[in-house]
């Protein structure tokens, strides 16, 4: 009897832990976060993959050997949103459209959830710039909070909302 109740207790605890731990992990963005810079950072190509973190009042994007910094105090607006992108993207995703019997269409049903982080900031001359990043779910709000804590402004103080546009692809087609 005792062993059965112990087993049930362990089972319930495991189930609860299984539900809570992934959420907690998703919310933690300790250290650099892997992101895709869709557009906007000066000197960085569109759809550049890199890491993003906030340190010493600076938003720091590292792409390969190059890096780009934006001062948190120069950020006029930081907005997060929930979005999704194709699970199979890029050239393979494009080529899959030619698969027989609608195989490519089936593949395009599989989408992964992502967060988007949109910034508006001013340069030294007062010129307004915008930058868009996509990143794993749960990380955009953490970066936003860090930015706001270090002097960035926001017009949307709440957490991220689902984007009006249900999909944002970071595939190469958007490149000019």
């Amino acid at each position: 009897m005792t062993s059965r109740s112990t087993m049930v207790l362990i089972g319930v605890a495991s189930l609860f832990a299984g539900l809570v731990i992934p959420v907690a992990n998703a919310q933690q963005a300790s250290g650099p976060v892997k992101v895709v810079q869709l557009t906007g950072l000066v000197g960085v190509k569109d759809n550049a993959k890199g890491t993003l973190d906030v340190q010493n009042g600076q938003l720091h994007f590292v792409h390969g050997k190059a890096s780009s910094d934006v001062s948190a105090s120069s950020i006029q607006d930081v907005v997060t949103a929930a979005d999704s992108q194709r699970a199979v993207g890029g050239m393979i995703g494009l080529m899959s459209m030619a698969a027989p019997y609608g195989g490519g269409r089936v593949l395009s049903l599989f989408r992964s959830k992502i967060d988007t982080l949109t910034l508006q900031y001013r340069d030294a001359d007062g010129g307004l710039h915008g930058a868009i990043f996509t990143m794993p779910v749960g990380t955009a709000d953490v970066i936003k909070k860090e930015l706001v804590a270090q002097g960035a402004h926001t017009t949307a103080p709440g957490e991220s909302t689902p984007a009006a546009a249900p999909s944002t692809s970071s595939n190469k087609e958007q490149k000019q």
Binding site: L38, T39, G40, D77, V79, A81, Q85, R86, L94, M97, G104, R105, S108, L109, R111, T116, T118, L119, Q120, R122, D123, D125, G126, G127, L128, H129, G130, A131, I132, A156, A163, A164, A165, P166, S167, T168, S169, S170, N171, E173, Q174, Q176
Partner: protein
Amino acid sequence: MKRILNAAIWLSMFALVFAASPLLAQKNKPTKMRAAALQVEMIQSSEIKLPAEFQVALYENLIRQLEKNGFSHVYRDGDHNAASVANLVVLHSTVRGFKAGSERARQVTTVSGATSIAVHCQFTSPDGTSLLEQDVNGKVRFFGGNLKATYDFAKKAAHVANENFSTAGHE
């Protein structure tokens, strides 16, 4: 001999007609307004609720396409350096329509899920005098993410600017 002369006259007449028509067509083209530089204001969307990433993507793509179309001096919203430029043209863009669409629906059905943006573009002088107003649309129908509609808009808007304004060394 007379036949050869006749043929030569007809030939020269044809050549004259073909050569003259492009010249006449160029005369009919509207004259471009002079713009030493362009300043792009941030996209406004007070009437339509536009996601922030679309607003930023419209703005950034617009600046990039204007630079690509030969406008060597494109100033951003709020740039102090633009204040001292003579013959500055300011581009105000206001979103009038937005349909979010769906990339998934586009890829699965091909016929539905198009994303479209309608933007009213107004070119003014720095004192606010309107020089040109035109509606420009951006669409993505088949391939690509929803943000590709912003690229489509930017290309068309840059084309409108290129058709109507000339900068030094850029006709």
